[in-house]
Structure formats: structure tokens, C-alpha cells
């Protein structure tokens, strides 16, 4: 039994009602329910008396340090076998860390701790690290995003990592760590015996300076399958250094997030090498990098390589225009692996989409999710899109948000959706203006074909 409630203010009678349900739940999620420290007293007894509870998610409630103290009374009982604890944005400070440390030290069942969006600070997380070092702690996933951490935290983190072979996922995104700290962290990760699978360092103040050391993690940890360094100004020189690690035979990376990294078309040569040789690579995000048409054309060459196994490509907001659409189209007509293409926020225009559709319609093409939001599209391309929707049953998700499709365009899409050959499951139309008549038509369509969700 699971309880999953989001964004619901709890009055006392509702709370009492829920408490009796909670006694037998395996998973409880109460996100943004205006809970406070007093609710924590009740939750503590639930934890105490419900040994089958494995997941507790209390994000976005002002529990405060006092709330955590109450909660931990329950968390420390021997019968508690909680595995996953989420306390993001719960107004916790470093004071909560003492309590959390005792939980980490006493509960080997705890495998996931998500405490991002709390002002824990370096001092607080140092205390947390002491808990991590306890041999009883078998934590696998640690999420510390937006915790107001600074460079000083790395020493304590590294010490903890040395003792934690169980750790699989570490997220430190949105903490101002800086290059010196990140380099130190990377050296620690290479030395640690843990088989880290996921490392997220988005917006950590990283520049190209850190990239040699991050590269070393890539070439040393075959376990690492998910790396994000998005929102760091690593630039083309940083990317070149990262590629050394990426291309290393030990590197088995699957998901690579390089969004908003200050990359230009100059990075595309190295990126192309990675795309066409790293057969493990399945998902790449290059969102918000000024790759431009010339850069894209280089990537397209790589994506035609038979060794390219990429399934998801995110090239939203990359300064692309109609000019690269022919190259992208030719990829789509030979590449059978690509399933998800995010190419929104590029001035592709109707002409660009017409070109893309040539490739999309090809029998080789297996794209099931296509994102063309804010691409300067008008009603003019909707006839071709309609043809696509009907001709390709593999297409299940289509995003056309923020395009001035007008009534005429939306009507054409509706017609396509009505066609029994159209297997679309989600038609995403955020922020498009249409008339009342078209609004009625969309509603009627949803009712007559409930397997399609029209999202706006």
C-alpha cells in the first residue's frame, strides 16, 4: 500500500484519517502538504509501529530542525527498516545534521538520503559525513543539491567516500565548490573503492581547470554511467579534456549531460568522436550551447556511424536553423537507434520541419518522442506533421508548444489525432493560443480518444 499526496493542506480530521492509513503503508509521500514539526511527532509513531515502511518522502514541508528531531525518534527504533528518506526543502539547518548523523550510524537499511534545498552548510554536512563513515552506514545514494556547501566540504566528503564502497550515486549540484575542490573530489573518487554510478556536479563553479581530473574519474571508474557537469563554464577546452576520459576504453558512460557548458561548434569534432565510438552512450544533452548549424552537421556525420548507439539526443536551444535540417533528416533516415529528439528553441521554421519530416517518415526511423517547442513554426507545417502522425505508429509523443500554429494548424493536428492510425499518446501544446471553437474541438477529441492526452 502506498500513500502519495502532493500539495494538499491537511486539517486535523484529514490528518487523523491519513494516519490510520499510514500504519500499513510501504511508501509514504506527503509533498508540500503544509506539515510542521507537530506532524512529525505522529509520523514518528507511524515509523515506530510500521516495520514495512521503506520509503518516506516529505519534501517541501516546513518541518524544521525540531521536526527532524521528532522524526528521528521513530527512525532510530530497531524495528525501523526505512530505505529511502527524502527531506528536500524542509527548512533544515546544520542543527538537523546531528540527528541525521545518528540515523546514518544506526540504520544500515537506509540506502537513500535526499536532503537538498536545505541550508545545511559545510559545517552541517561535515557532521553528516561522520555518520557516513560509520561502518553501519550502507548508504547508496546521497543528494546534497543546493545545501550551501563550499570548497571546505571536500576533505570530509573524501574521507567518507573512502569508507563507503556501497555508494552509487552522489549529487552535489548547485553548491559553489569551485575548481580546487572539484579536483580534490575527483582525486578522492578515483582512490575510493566505491563503484560510483552517478555523479552530478551541475552549477558547481567548474571550469576547464577541473576537466583533467573529471576525465580521470571517467577513465578509472567503469562503473560511472551517468555524469552531469551541466551549467558549468567548461568551454571547448574543457570539453576536449573530458573527451580524453570519455574515449578511454574503461569508460562505459551511458548518460552525459553537458547543458549550458559554454560549448561552441569547436567542440563538435571531439563530441563527434565520442558519439561515433562510445557504443555505451545512450543519452546526451547539449542544451543551450551555441553549436550552430556547422557544429550540428559534424554531429550528424557521427550519428550516421553504425557504432553510434545513441537513443536520446537533446539539442534544444543550440543556435540551429533551417540550414542544418537536411543533415539531421539524413541521420533520421539511416539511424534506427535514435528514439528521442529534443530540438526545440531553435529557429528551424516551417521549412526546417518539412525537411526533418522527410527523415522522420523514413521506414528506418524509430523516433517515438519529438520535441519542437518554440521553433518558429506556423500552421503551414501542420499538414506535414499530420502526415507524420498518421504514418508513423512509433511516434507516441509530440511537442509543438509555443509555436503560433493558430486555429488552422491545431485543427489539422486534431484531424490527424482522430485518425485510427495515429498512435500518439501525448500531444503537448503549451502556450499556444486558439479560439473557443478549437478549444471545444480539443476537448471533444480527448473524450472520444482517451488514450491521447492533450497537454496545455
Amino acid at each position: 500500500m502506498d500513500l502519495d499526496i502532493q500539495c494538499e493542506e491537511m486539517d486535523p480530521s484529514r490528518w487523523a484519517e491519513l494516519l490510520s492509513t499510514m500504519k500499513s503503508c510501504k511508501s509514504i509521500r506527503l509533498d508540500d502538504c503544509n506539515l510542521s514539526s507537530s506532524n512529525c511527532k505522529d509520523l514518528s509513531s507511524i515509523i515506530n509501529t510500521n516495520p514495512s515502511l521503506t520509503e518516506l518522502k516529505l519534501n517541501n514541508n516546513e518541518l524544521g530542525d525540531a521536526g527532524i528531531e521528532y522524526l528521528c525518534k521513530g527512525l532510530l527504533t530497531p524495528s525501523c527498516s526505512l530505505q529511502k528518506l527524502w527531506l528536500q526543502n524542509c527548512n533544515l539547518t546544520s542543527a538537523s545534521c546531528e540527528t541525521l548523523r545518528s540515523v546514518l550510524s544506526a540504520q544500515p537499511s537506509l540506502t537513500e538520503l535526499h536532503v537538498g534545498d536545505n541550508k545545511l552548510g559545510t559545517a552541517g554536512v561535515k557532521v553528516l559525513c561522520q555518520g557516513l563513515m560509520n561502518p553501519n552506514c550502507k548508504l547508496q545514494k546521497l543528494q546534497l543539491e543546493y545545501c550551501e556547501l563550499t570548497a571546505d566540504i571536500v576533505e570530509a566528503l573524501n574521507a567518507a567516500l573512502q569508507t563507503k564502497p556501497t555508494l552509487k550515486e552522489l549529487s552535489l549540484s548547485n553548491n559553489t565548490l569551485g575548481d580546487t575542490a572539484v579536483k580534490q573530489l575527483c582525486r578522492g573518487l578515483v582512490e575510493a573503492s566505491c563503484n560510483l554510478e552517478l555523479l552530478h556536479l551541475e552549477n558547481c563553479g567548474i571550469t576547464s581547470d577541473s576537466c583533467r581530473d573529471i576525465s580521470a574519474v571517467l577513465s578509472n571508474k567503469s562503473s560511472l554511467i551517468d555524469l552531469s557537469v551541466g551549467d558549468n563554464k567548461i568551454g571547448d577546452s574543457g570539453l576536449a579534456l573530458l573527451c580524453q576520459g570519455l574515449l578511454h576504453p574503461n569508460c562505459k558512460i551511458q548518460k552525459l549531460w553537458l547543458w549550458d557548458c559554454d560549448l561552441t561548434s569547436a567542440s563538435c569534432k571531439d563530441l563527434s568522436r565520442v558519439l561515433s565510438t562510445k557504443e555505451t552512450l545512450l543519452e546526451v544533452s547539449l542544451i543551450d550551447n551555441n553549436l550552430r548549424d556547422s557544429g550540428m552537421e559534424m554531429l550528424c556525420q557521427a550519428l550516421k556511424d553504425p557504432k553510434a548507439n545513441l537513443q536520446e539526443l537533446w539539442i534544444r536551444e543550440c543556435g540551429l536553423t533551417t540550414a542544418c535540417c537536411k543533415a539531421v533528416s539524413s541521420v533520421l533516415s539511416v539511424n534506427k537507434h535514435l528514439k528521442v529528439l529534443h530540438i526545440g528553441e531553435n529557429k528551424l521554421g516551417d521549412a526546417g520541419v518539412e525537411l526533418l519530416c522527410e527523415g522522420l517518415l523514413h521506414p528506418n526511423c524509430n523516433i517515438h518522442s519529438l520535441w519542437l517547442g518554440n521553433c518558429d513554426l506556423t500552421a503551414a507545417c501542420c499538414a506535414t506533421l499530420a502526415t507524420l502522425m498518421v504514418a508513423k505508429p512509433c511516434l507516441t509523443e509530440l511537442d509543438l508548444s509555443y509555436n503560433t500554429l493558430e486555429d488552422e494548424g491545431v485543427r489539422k493536428l486534431c484531424e490527424a489525432v482522430r485518425n485510427p492510425n495515429c498512435k500518439l499518446q501525448q500531444l503537448i501544446l503549451y502556450d499556444i493560443f486558439w479560439s473557443s471553437e478549437v478549444d471545444d474541438e480539443l476537448r471533444a477529441l480527448e473524450e472520444s480518444k482517451p488514450e491521447v492526452k492533450i497537454i496545455s
Binding site: N89, I287, S401, Y430, F433, S435
Partner: protein, 145 residues
């Protein structure tokens, strides 16, 4: 607690399987937060508000951007009486406080990570029968640009 009440009311309306909200009500739900909900700073404003207003919800992909206007609904209704441009869009006479939420990073499924920018912008709306039903964007005052 105004936004709470709005949230609960709308949740009940949807759950009750009612005919559903009007397009104007949807506009208010997705775009108007006045007075600006307290206690939510920076990106947390976007994350929490978009979830409370059911813009972010399970089964819905993360909306790439969304603007909240911190002005009385009446002011936006009044904007419909301003002359429309060639595209049929009306612009507010004076700038309003807004929070522009922009999706960061990659994932399209919740949890959706946003960045918030607080600005004083003119708000552009499309109207039907004198009611604002669509936020067509915002822009700085001409003299500021």
C-alpha cells in the same frame, strides 16, 4: 494562504469531475500569483508554485517556461480593453512584477528543475470576450531596453 485556497478549490473542481475550469480560470491558475506567495525564494518559488498550480504534475512533461504575474487579476482583465496589436495581443499599460520560471537541465519528467527571474515587465495577453486567456509573453519597457 490565498494560493492555497485556490489550489484546493481547483483540485476539488478537477477531482469532482466537474465540467472543468474556464479558460480564464486556467489563465489565473497558471499565470497569476497576487500577492506573491511568501516564503519561497529563488528556484524554490518556481518549483513549488508550478506544482501547486498543477502546471507540473505526474503524467505531464515539465513545461519549459512559465511566467507568474504578481498583479491583481482585475488589472489583467482591464488589459483586454487596451488596443490590440496586429496579432490580437494586448499589452499592459504599465510594467508589472513577474517571476519568469525557466526549465533548466534535461529531464522532461518531474521533478522539474527551474530557475526564477524576477522582473518588472509589460505583460502581453490574448483575450476572448474581454477575458485574458493566454499569456503571450512579456517585455521590458521601451525606454529600459
Amino acid at each position: 494562504m490565498a494560493s492555497w485556497t485556490l489550489c484546493v478549490v481547483l483540485v476539488l473542481a478537477t477531482v469532482a469531475g466537474a465540467v472543468g475550469e474556464t479558460r480564464y480560470e486556467k489563465f489565473l491558475r497558471q499565470h497569476v500569483d497576487h500577492p506573491r506567495t511568501l516564503g519561497l525564494m529563488g528556484h524554490r518559488y518556481c518549483q513549488v508554485m508550478l506544482a501547486r498550480r498543477q502546471v507540473t504534475a505526474s503524467g505531464r512533461p515539465c513545461k519549459p517556461s512559465n511566467t507568474f504575474v504578481h498583479a491583481p487579476a482585475e488589472d489583467l482583465v482591464a488589459t483586454c480593453r487596451n488596443p490590440a496589436d496586429a496579432m490580437g495581443i494586448h499589452s499592459t499599460s504599465s510594467p508589472m512584477g513577474i517571476t519568469a520560471c525557466r526549465l533548466r537541465g534535461g529531464d522532461t519528467r518531474p521533478p522539474c528543475n527551474y530557475r526564477a527571474r524576477q522582473l518588472q515587465h509589460h505583460v502581453r495577453v490574448a483575450c476572448l470576450d474581454g477575458w485574458p486567456v493566454h499569456l503571450a509573453g512579456t517585455h521590458a519597457s521601451p525606454d529600459e531596453a
